[in-house]
């Protein structure tokens, strides 16, 4: 039974939220000048602006410019005064926070991946931290191997950085293709499924009931009327229809058993009855989230989003090296990566929350709701693929000017 009071609101919020999510993902990528820009004559081999392309306010632009100027002063200071390394690290950390506070393809890829796949906040945070650290590590390795060990010229370093960049773009395209295959397939399967429940068959494994903690601890879920669907926070994984609890227990909670109702074991032993269409959603316990998650996919995402070094880190490293203080440059780069992780982590939170909100609002129990979620996942996957392809073509000049 649909509640006439609740559903219109859900649709309205969903109607407002979905364009926002999509616009957000697009906005993250759209201003990336690499889409339209050749390599700057004074670039360091990374097409334009490193990882940071903001433009929201002139103030932010000027702050970042100031930070970068202060960085070289701090490296100089560290030459004569060892304690200035702490100043340098502090500045680098702040630079990382600011630097990441704008659209960039790495963030777009991570956000799209998380939106398409991820439901666990903690893992989203870990993935974005890993991507940020990888970004710093690539810069350290690039400068360490080429400049420190091989004494390569700027031109060779540019070539190497461009190569790394092209490879990372190819990685994004590969990740996007994989996600489109996975998510698009699920979308098409849902579309072709003759009737609701669309999450049955392959998605609902009757022989594999799983446990999950109720989000509201020990609260019995007594607020749902009969005929209420119970949506779970697990991709591609439904829950089995268990034996119905005895009428006596239900009567005690004021539930009326319905033919469609089913009961889950909530670990705490709380009886829980829903039917279709109520859209009740539980945030999953991260501890139980092993299913539907592929480390291979997650690692590919980290590599795709984080393997392109940022121009600022390369410049600080080379400058530190020229000053005979390569270690200070390494410390600065790590601090920069941690600062970046703060900002990208916040974005990861947004992506995961947006996904959870979308699932919650789209009546996960209904066929239409499943279609909406699968469709959005497919769109996010297409965005990753499109971004990867156009960045790769731009970087390798396959796409013309």
């Amino acid at each position: 039974m649909r509640s006439p009071l609740r559903l219109p609101w859900r649709r309205i919020v969903l109607g407002l939220a979905l364009p926002c999510v999509l616009a957000g993902l697009l906005a993250l990528m759209a201003p990336h000048p690499a889409f339209a820009q050749a390599h700057n004559p004074f670039g360091v081999g990374i097409s334009e602006g490193g990882e940071s392309d903001d433009g929201l306010t002139g103030w932010l632009l000027q702050q970042q410019a100031l930070f970068e100027r202060h960085l070289s002063a701090a490296v100089r200071a560290a030459k004569s005064d060892g304690s200035a390394v702490w100043t340098l690290m502090g500045l680098s950390f702040a630079y990382g926070v600011f630097h990441a506070a704008g659209p960039g393809h790495g963030k777009a890829v991570m956000a799209s991946y998380l939106f398409a796949n991820e439901r666990a906040l903690r893992r989203g945070l870990v993935l974005s931290l890993l991507a940020a650290l990888l970004q710093g590590l690539v810069a350290i390795l690039l400068v360490g191997v080429l400049a420190l060990v091989l004494h390569a010229t700027a031109q060779r370093m540019k070539d190497a950085a461009s190569l790394v960049e092209s490879l990372s773009y190819a990685g994004i395209a590969a990740l996007g293709a994989w996600l489109v295959w996975q998510k698009g397939g699920a979308f098409v399967r849902t579309l072709r499924a003759p009737s609701f429940p669309a999450l049955s068959a392959s998605d609902l494994s009757a022989s594999d009931p799983h446990r999950h903690k109720p989000s509201a601890a020990s609260q019995p879920h007594a607020g749902h009327g009969p005929g209420c669907a119970h949506g779970h926070g697990h991709d591609d994984h439904g829950h089995g229809h268990h034996d119905h609890p005895s009428p006596q227990r239900l009567a005690g909670l004021g539930h009326h058993p319905s033919p469609d109702g089913h009961h889950h074991d909530h670990g705490a032993g709380t009886p829980h009855v829903h039917g279709p269409d109520c859209g009740h959603y539980h945030a999953p316990d991260p501890a139980t989230l092993g299913e539907g998650f592929s480390w291979r996919e997650a690692i590919l995402t980290v590599v795709a989003a984080g393997s392109r070094p940022c121009s600022g880190a390369i410049l600080v490293l080379v400058f530190s090296l020229a000053q005979g203080l390569f270690a200070a440059g390494v410390a600065a780069t790590i601090a920069m990566a941690l600062g970046t992780a703060i900002t990208t982590g916040a974005l990861a939170c947004l992506a995961v929350l947006a996904k959870n909100l979308t699932v919650r609002l789209s009546s996960p129990g209904s066929r239409r709701g499943v279609l909406v979620v699968r469709g959005l996942e497919t769109l996010a996957a297409l965005l990753v693929l499109g971004a990867g392809l156009s960045l790769f073509m731009g970087a390798t000049s396959l796409g013309g000017a």
Partner: protein, 206 residues
């Protein structure tokens, strides 16, 4: 389809600068009193300078312009695509430049690298109406700034010519608002920050 859609989205002039250049420009006059070219001297910041000369020559020795000649050639050649980051206007009409000549890179005793090159005008421009000169990177990857001291010189100019440099007005709140509105509606600010932050040099002759 989606890929092309993303590719054709307008690029926002939104990078923040990684390279900082202090520019000194010289306006060259012909015997007839018309402007024939621009001589640029761009000094790079310490970080980019150390990157540019990385791996060249011996450590702790100042490089000679001969050692830096291949790099200078690469630089001016790749600048062509970007219009040499230089915009000259005679009486409001944009002038076009020919191939750069007399280019060289030099490393100063302060280890800062300076790129010098001459940009000949394809057709000499009159200077009796205001001639304006701006040096900027529209993508704002490179931040250009006129030098505080002697930013603009006139060479072989007729007597009575004057030169002045107007610093950019700071980005005001109106710009910021316009930017964010535009950002959220079009995903493109529609304005070049590079030019908004660019100084304008003006040459006026009688």
């Amino acid at each position: 389809m989606l890929a092309t859609g993303v590719t054709t989205l307008p690029d926002a002039a939104s990078a923040h600068p990684h390279v900082f250049v202090v520019a000194r420009e010289e306006v060259l006059f012909g015997p007839d009193g018309r402007i024939t070219g621009i001589r640029a001297a761009w000094t790079f910041d310490d970080m980019y300078s150390s990157f540019a000369i990385q791996g060249l020559g011996e450590a702790d020795k100042i490089l000679t312009s001969e050692q830096l000649a291949p790099l200078a050639k690469t630089n001016v050649e790749s600048l062509a695509e970007f219009g040499y980051f230089t915009v000259g206007k005679a009486a409001g009409k944009q002038v076009s430049f020919g191939e750069p000549t007399d280019y060289l890179l030099e490393e100063g005793s302060d280890k800062l690298v300076t790129l010098r090159f001459t940009l000949p005008l394809k057709e000499p421009a009159p200077a009796n109406k205001a001639f304006t000169l701006q040096v900027y990177d529209p993508t704002y990857f490179v931040s250009f700034e006129f030098a505080d001291k002697d930013p603009l010189a006139l060479k072989d100019a007729p007597s009575g010519c004057s030169a002045s440099v107007a610093k950019p007005r700071p980005l005001d709140t109106g710009d910021n608002q316009k930017l964010s509105e535009a950002f959220f509606s079009n995903m493109s600010p529609g304005v070049d920050f590079g030019i908004k932050l660019a100084s304008r040099a003006v040459v006026a002759c009688p």
